[in-house]
Symmetry: C2
Subunit: 344 residues, 2 copies
Amino acid sequence: MSHDTDAAADTVQIPLPELQALARRVLLRQGLSQAHAEAMARTIVAGQRDACQSHGVYRLITCTHSIRSGKVDLQAEPVLAPASGAVVRVDARHAFSPLAFERGLPALLQAARTHGLGALVINRCFHFSALWPEIEAITAHGLAALALTPSHAWVAPAGGSQPVFGTNPIAFGWPRPGPYPFVFDFATSAIARGDLELHRRAGTPLPPGCGVDAQGRPSTDPVAIAQGAMLAFGGHKGSALAAMVEVMAAALIGDWTSAESLDFDAGAGAAPCHGELLLAFDPERLSGQAPAQAQARAETLFAAITGQGARLPSERRYAARERSLREGATVPRALYAEILALAG
Amino acid sequence: MSHDTDAAADTVQIPLPELQALARRVLLRQGLSQAHAEAMARTIVAGQRDACQSHGVYRLITCTHSIRSGKVDLQAEPVLAPASGAVVRVDARHAFSPLAFERGLPALLQAARTHGLGALVINRCFHFSALWPEIEAITAHGLAALALTPSHAWVAPAGGSQPVFGTNPIAFGWPRPGPYPFVFDFATSAIARGDLELHRRAGTPLPPGCGVDAQGRPSTDPVAIAQGAMLAFGGHKGSALAAMVEVMAAALIGDWTSAESLDFDAGAGAAPCHGELLLAFDPERLSGQAPAQAQARAETLFAAITGQGARLPSERRYAARERSLREGATVPRALYAEILALAG
């Protein structure tokens, strides 16, 4: 239980194994099965380790809220169907998603190795996590990965004013030599839903272009936007990508859109419930070359980016990870106290 | 040879079969094989039919320029390798891409039907076309499709000032009831390369955010941006997508990046030479449902977009197609004269 504190920044440093144990304890106390608690704690602690505050231990609080809605199955074992060609399907049975991903991962890796590419379809999951932990779990095996998932319908299409899309993240990864793959993971909304909430609580305006009010007028007021709609990043192109996420990670995989998820939620404020699509690609099979040759070409690309002082996505996250592995994860003191209280 | 003219708009209306014959004649006269000329003319006339001026018969002029560079093989038959799992590979052998796509399409469709999803890798092609004709050729068979391709390195990464990425288009399609699928096809650069050229010729400034000068300072001057770099759309998110296109449609498929393509061009100003990646997905296999059920969910999504007065991507293109099918394709009179001259 020894950990340093940083009074000035009002944070505490918690060793990662201790944080994992704490997260697990909170989740078990909420009634989750051992397997779900372990998988969720891994995802949540990875977020805190990488200084992703919105997807770190703060999620213990939002997951608790989701659980209190009564909609989440806390014990359901994911059901992995026999692979159909290159398609692997896991039915999460209205439980949280991380365990379903872990149960489907080996079959996805095998499908990609066997066929050159493979798809992992996760159905009927409550989704609260970032996508990059799953992307990294795939790139760790030398495969490229793409992941898409809807959320709740909060985002209006370009040219419209009524919410249709979720924040609909797109994540991509490519294995690199060394521990850190090329990974990005971003919402197709102009801002994250969490940022909207933070601005609403703080009473501060959002940057222009993030949303419209209930009458469809551009607004920077987080309260007005919450009553109206958020907007996609990048105008009609971002809006098209948000639509693609709905089509590919809902219609294509036979699961709910962000609108269906929000309907099901019915004001409970729980995590969205829908599916997720992950694709894995074997560079050796797709390039027809030795993996080292494909990697070398990508490294030349990355060097052309970093060599001019531009950042690769996830660089800050990896720097935070290095620090956390040495010094423990940094957690705001007030949040840490809340979580300790949840742990009982 | 009868066609109406519209003196006021200084355009001519050319029946589509006549335009196809004219395009074919131009291409044959340049030394292309019958098979290449047919495939390229189909792509080019489809662009003009849909009022995509930058990818219509104007491409006959740019293709002629590419041919004069001496780099393009005008006769090479694409070589389709035996499918390796769900991966289909066509070597275009430094010829133009449309014939390579046509030769690979049946095997891609079969791979997607057999395995649930499939990849078509086109290698060593000169690429001048939009991606949507290929997307539509896949959705016509009831499959979803995603296509990516690099170009020439003209676009700086977010936070940088030196070109690394191409205009790197991403195109997606989903089959709908009726003749018109859901399709988008956009450059990940803030503007198309063709728009930069048009502004340069016209001496008009670009909108802010499209590029930087050679010193990396934001600029709206098309001459300064041509000497500096274009920018990706949507800031760091668009830049991440542009990087993904390089990784997936170059490193992953064992072909050239936009930087390698530009090096090879060595100032000739020819079409870029690299690979292309197309993915096809079988909704029945991925949804585990009847195709009609997956389609119905997508139609509900599209109705929520159009029902609030927002547009679906490609709507204007389809409206132009309807007109062209009735009245012939609209071609600027001066351009038509240039093409007639090329046809001899």
